[in-house]
């Protein structure tokens, strides 16, 4: 862009003109290369993704029931009006946000701490710890639900056995209790945090060692080094994990759906927005209203993402510039 501006205001000197032309040629060439490298996604998006997304947007203005053989019917904004007057949907959105408020910070800080631990030069036996921490992430979702149903079982689960062992008389029935069920989901989430940890660890290991050496010369301690070198250097990946965990929680669904058997009980305290969306679409077969809910949560998550991108200018450091 700036190259183009400069070429328009070309100085008289012919030598300078040549350099300018070369520079603008270079910028044009760079753009072309950019499009070439981008093309796999552009093609894939056009063929596989764009049409289904567009069709689902159309559904939001239709009455479209999977259980009837009637053709979909255009109903304008009825689905949207229904959504804003649906107390169940509003409550489900509240549950989702309440969970996000704890799960997002924990989902960033904990893997960061674990990655720092695994990256510590004082740690003995890294080759052993890494797979152990990563192991739970590899467990298929359904299996991990079975594991946690057993682990958090009120009477026989090991967690409550441990709690009783340290003197807590009546540990809670985690999944049956309104005040503990979200915390139980949080524990399950923390267990499967291996991928965030791994991306942070991978980036930490890419931080040039000279930076630390230089800081040590200046007498920086471990904490200062972590705060002023490691954190900024891996901030792009922290940002990545932040965006994905916000999106992930807006779509949080499988765990509460399977554990509460689709009810969101006790007392709807675990009825997440996407459960409502899933039930509307595939239990009640109301695809039009289900798509409306999907687009609603899409818009919320998109706004949050845009806000995060806006703030990223202040705290994400890109070594490559930009």
């Amino acid at each position: 862009m700036s190259a183009a501006d400069q070429s328009r205001a070309a100085p008289a000197s012919s030598k300078a003109q040549i350099t300018e032309r070369r520079r603008s040629d270079l910028a044009r060439q760079q753009r072309i290369w950019g499009w070439i490298f981008l093309s796999p996604w552009l093609i894939g998006f056009t063929i596989f993704t764009a049409v289904p997304i567009f069709v689902s947007l159309i559904f939001t203005f239709m009455e479209f029931s999977l259980s009837s053989d009637a053709a979909p019917r255009f109903i304008g904004l009825d689905n949207w009006i229904k959504l804003f007057n649906d107390p169940v949907a509003i409550n489900a959105l509240g549950v989702t946000f309440r969970f996000a408020l704890i799960a997002v910070p924990v989902g960033i800080i904990l893997p960061l701490a674990m990655a720092a631990l695994l990256n510590s030069k004082h740690l003995v036996g890294k080759i052993l710890w890494r797979p152990l921490y990563y192991l739970p992430y590899m467990v298929p979702a359904i299996s991990s639900i079975f594991i946690w149903q057993a682990f958090l079982n009120g009477q026989t689960g090991w967690l409550n056995r441990v709690l009783r062992g340290i003197g807590i008389q009546e540990p809670p029935n985690w999944f049956q209790n309104e005040s503990t069920i979200l915390f139980a989901f949080l524990l399950m989430g923390v267990w499967g945090i291996g991928n965030s940890m791994l991306t942070m660890l991978a980036t930490m290991q890419g931080v040039p060692t000279e930076l630390y050496e230089a800081a040590e010369v200046d007498g920086a301690g471990a904490f200062t080094k972590f705060r002023s070198i490691t954190l900024p250097m891996i901030s792009p990946v922290i940002f990545y994990n932040l965006v994905l965990s916000v999106i992930g929680i807006m779509q949080y669904f499988v765990v509460p759906y399977v554990i509460t058997r689709g009810t969101g009980n006790p007392n709807n305290s675990a009825y997440f927005f996407n459960m409502h969306l899933y039930k509307t679409s595939f239990t009640f077969f109301d695809m039009g209203y289900g798509s409306t809910q999907a687009w609603f949560i899409f818009i919320i998550a998109l706004v949050l993402t845009v806000v995060l991108f806006g703030t990223s200018r202040r705290w994400v450091y890109y070594a490559s510039g930009e």
């Binding site: 862009m1 910028a27 760079q30 290369w33 950019g34 499009w35 490298f37 981008l38 796999p40 996604w41 093609i43 998006f45 063929i47 596989f48 993704t49 289904p52 997304i53 069709v55 689902s56 559904f59 674990m114 631990l117 740690l123 036996g125 080759i127 890494r130 797979p131 152990l132 590899m138 467990v139 298929p140 299996s143 594991i147 057993a150 682990f151 026989t156 090991w158 441990v162 991928n195 980036t203 290991q205 890419g206 040039p208 060692t209 630390y212 010369v217 007498g219 990946v237 940002f239 990545y240 969306l277 899933y278 679409s281 595939f282 695809m287 289900g290 999907a294 687009w295 845009v306 070594a319």
Partner: protein, 344 residues
Amino acid sequence: MASITQPRISPAVNTSPFYSAQLRKFAVKAMVTMLALLVAIAYLLPFGNMALISIKSADQISGSTDNNILPLSPQLYEYEGESYEVYNIPQADGTVAQWALVDKGRQSSGFIDPANPEAGLIEWQGSWRTLESVYVYDPHPENFAEAWDLINFPRLFFNTLFIAVVGMIGTLLSSICVAYAFARFPIPGKNVMFLILIGTIILPSQVTLIPTYAFFASIGWTGTWLPLIVPHFFANAYNVFLLRQFFMTLPRELDEAAMIDGAGPFRVLMAIIIPQSWPAIISVGLFHFIFAWNDYFGPLIYLLGKPDLVPQATSIMAMVLPLLIFVLAQKIFMRGVVVTGVDK
């Protein structure tokens, strides 16, 4: 390790004898490692719980409220062709007898003393429910063999491996290119396109399922592996995002130096960007592999009616392969670090 730097001895430490510095270093190592061990134990507890349950029989799992942590079964005694549970019965003289409960009753029950079955039924007053069972250790490792037999392992293994590996190659090739484009090239409208890319993972997939399925059905790809493989050759938003973030942590100096030496963008990617990014690329490869290995719904719907093609890895035992790959990938992971450490 990448950073083999001697600890600098500060003036304060310098006054103490040399072994104290050594000791301090050892203490720090011990503390850090102990912390790692604690975290690992916390992470493994749920597995331990599952492991002990997995060697229990259905009866041992149901049992009563005072459930045992180990796979214990009540001791049985054979009497006249039937088996009966053995209980601890406190005697008047303070000893405890172990008798088999043969005839259950509400007010009194009939027991047999295994040491002296000829004596016949011993009538005991009281409720048998207040008595304690005699337990014996009785694990059921055959549960694993049975679960193993339920899966057609060779077929599952081949199908899953093929889908996962081909998809992984596809997503790596395409996502690296696209991430490189987003990270390094001045494309007009780049930011908007990047937001669209992220947008494709924000929209809940439940609502695009039917149009997507209809599309694949209309081009005749249902009942084949194509819907599970081909889209991965056109980049995936999660992977592009991660790689783009990682590429942007790399300073441009090396790219520019190479370009001055006459390298084209492709050569810069191959010779400069990729060698510095092995940890991230391996992460992406692993993520895709685990995703494809554990993908449940995709195969379910696209391979309906083609049981021979279905890769189904819902069993916890199917984790063995990803774990193995992770352990092996660790080595490359480490090598990647060494490369970046030394080259600079």
